[in-house]
């Protein structure tokens, strides 16, 4: 990648173009869209989705998928709220417990996938059901009201931007560094590209896989804290269907569903596209059926543009490789 530094911008060209086009279209259609208020509103809406999409990016790069993130998020949120409200535990302990729930779900996913070599689609589908059931059980199917104890996470700190957004942004950069600058990151990409080759060179791919799924579970817990601080409540129905939105963000960002290729920064652009679209469509009052048709079309356009780009890119790489050989 570093061989072509000028291309790093163009790597995200498709998704950035779409983002710019969306902002332009909504600015023309709605008078108040192009305003600081809209952008701070979007910034404060996305931390949860962003954090979950980071975990999903790693999972997809390694060649897997995690359908359980929405349920695991609800489970962690309800665990956190129960600990705080029902069992009257101190805040730090409640946070820790919520983390443990996410990490346990994630590592269970990873262990079962690695040990029995079952497709992650099936294992995480099962986890989606189990975590949701456990959530209803724990919450007795009721929304647990937390109150303003943790709403400070969503209070604006600088220029209307919340602490939650700053935290999400820090996590994006940290994850980007882990993926691009560490040995672990290289293993993740390597396993996604050619797992057999990695195993032959003595790398414990099972361990890497478990760590990646554990990370996705842990990040779902972080998202749970962010979302419960926004609602000041833990909703056992939270995050139903959220996994699809998370996967869409990652894929729009250009991470390949076949594994082996992807970027956390690009995923963040994908999150921005999804949330700008949602915000814009509701600001102009589009009806629900059209909202869904338009969202589907944007996903399709983004992915096709991405395939187009990677097609061109792979041709270039082949030709330069030939030159060097």
């Amino acid at each position: 990648m570093n061989k072509y530094p000028t291309r790093s911008y163009f790597n995200n060209f498709g998704s950035i173009t779409i983002l710019a086009a969306l902002i332009l279209v909504f600015s023309l259609l709605s008078r108040n869209f192009l305003s600081l208020k809209t952008f701070t509103a979007i910034a404060n809406q996305i931390p949860g989705l962003t954090v979950m999409a980071i975990g999903m990016t790693f999972v997809i790069i390694i060649g897997g998928i995690d359908l359980s993130v929405g349920s695991v998020m609800a489970f962690s949120a309800v665990g956190f709220a129960s600990a705080l409200v029902e069992w009257q535990l101190p805040l730090a302990l409640a946070v820790l417990l919520s983390f443990c729930l996410g990490i346990i779900c994630g590592s269970l996913n990873g262990l079962i996938i690695s040990h029995w070599k079952i497709p992650s689609f099936i294992v995480t589908l099962a986890m989606l059901e189990m975590a949701r059931g456990a959530t209803y059980l724990l919450a007795q199917s009721r929304t647990i009201y937390i109150g303003s104890e943790i709403s400070w996470i969503n209070e604006p700190v600088i220029g209307g931007i919340s602490l939650a957004f700053v935290l999400a942004l820090c996590l994006v950069f940290a994850a980007h560094l882990i993926l691009t600058e560490t040995v672990f990151g290289r293993y993740v990409v390597g396993i996604g590209t050619n797992e057999t080759a990695m195993q032959l060179s003595g790398i414990n791919s099972a361990l890497v896989r478990v760590l990646v799924f554990t990370g996705a579970g842990g990040l779902a817990s972080v998202a749970a804290l962010l979302s419960s601080s926004r609602l000041e409540a833990a909703d056992p129905n939270a995050g139903i269907g959220l996994e699809l939105q998370v996967i869409a963000s990652v894929v729009i960002g250009g991470t390949s569903l076949l594994g082996g290729r992807g970027s956390v920064i690009a995923t963040f652009v994908g999150v921005l596209i999804i949330s700008t679209l949602e915000s814009g469509l509701s600001q102009i009052g589009t009806s629900e059926p059209f909202k869904r048709i338009i969202t589907g079309l944007v996903i399709m356009v983004a992915v096709i543009m991405d395939i187009h780009r990677s097609h061109v890119q792979s041709k270039e790489v082949v030709s330069t490789d030939l030159k060097y050989s």
Partner: protein, 323 residues
Amino acid sequence: MKVTRLTITVILSAALFAVLLYSGLKPSFGPRNTTPHIALVMKSLANEFFLTMEHEARAHQKSSATEYRLTANGIRNETDVSGQVRIIENMIAQDVDALIVAPADSRALIPVCAQAIQQGIVVINIDNRFNQQTLAAKSLQIPFVGPGNRKGAKMVGSYLADHLEAGDGVAVLEGIPTAHNSQERKAGFIEAFREKALDILTIRSAEWDMEKANIVVAALINEYPDVKGIACANDSMALGAVAALKAAGKLNSVYVVGFDNISAVQEMLKNGQILATADQFGGQIAVNGIEYALEILKTGTHKADQETPVELITKQSIENNNE
């Protein structure tokens, strides 16, 4: 290959813009509009009840277009609470003057509404009432315009009870247990059944959903073969219950009642498959909320809660109406 992909991209992008334009949008050029901007935030528009609400609100706006502008939004499904929060945040960003909210959750929507009030937006609560303790804890006063859910459910429940004998077994199908209107309707049914000394066999949730109700009722009639009546907290669930009874060949021995009076149950009311339902005039609720908001915007005075009418609908009442 390259050309094909490019062509597809171009075609899809064109389709996208065409759809955007076709969905009824007008560019924002021209002089600034100073009429009040009202945002209606509903629950799932896949539910006919809210779709009617949206249609009547839009019709009301058309008939008084000089008085206010309307932006109407709904969420994907009844449980998408954070989606509803995001819509309200977007409406705050849109600088609307008033928000009419049918909350998907009686508590979790309160923080974002408090934020709207802080920005000087008039907030009116419709359909499903906010939790009064939580409002009081935040020292907020949000006027509620909506039906007496409990009263309506009691009317329907009593009508069902009149068709049964004391000691007969009945079951209640509630909506999403966290929703205030579901709790109220359940309470209304139970009150009516207790008054007639019916035996309440079980209370189950089918989350307002037809298919879930179908599964729940199929299991329920196996478990309690003596059940004589099933009271559903909305009509969609009553439809699911009727389908399950039909499949089990028990349609003639079990009475089903619903709530909402959606168009899909009209025929079933006439042929007796559903015994009764309640009409709370969903469209009128949103319109009342809008009129309330306009009045507050004009006069600046605080308004008290307003209960909208609920009516018992039976085969008899439909026939009387048609005469």
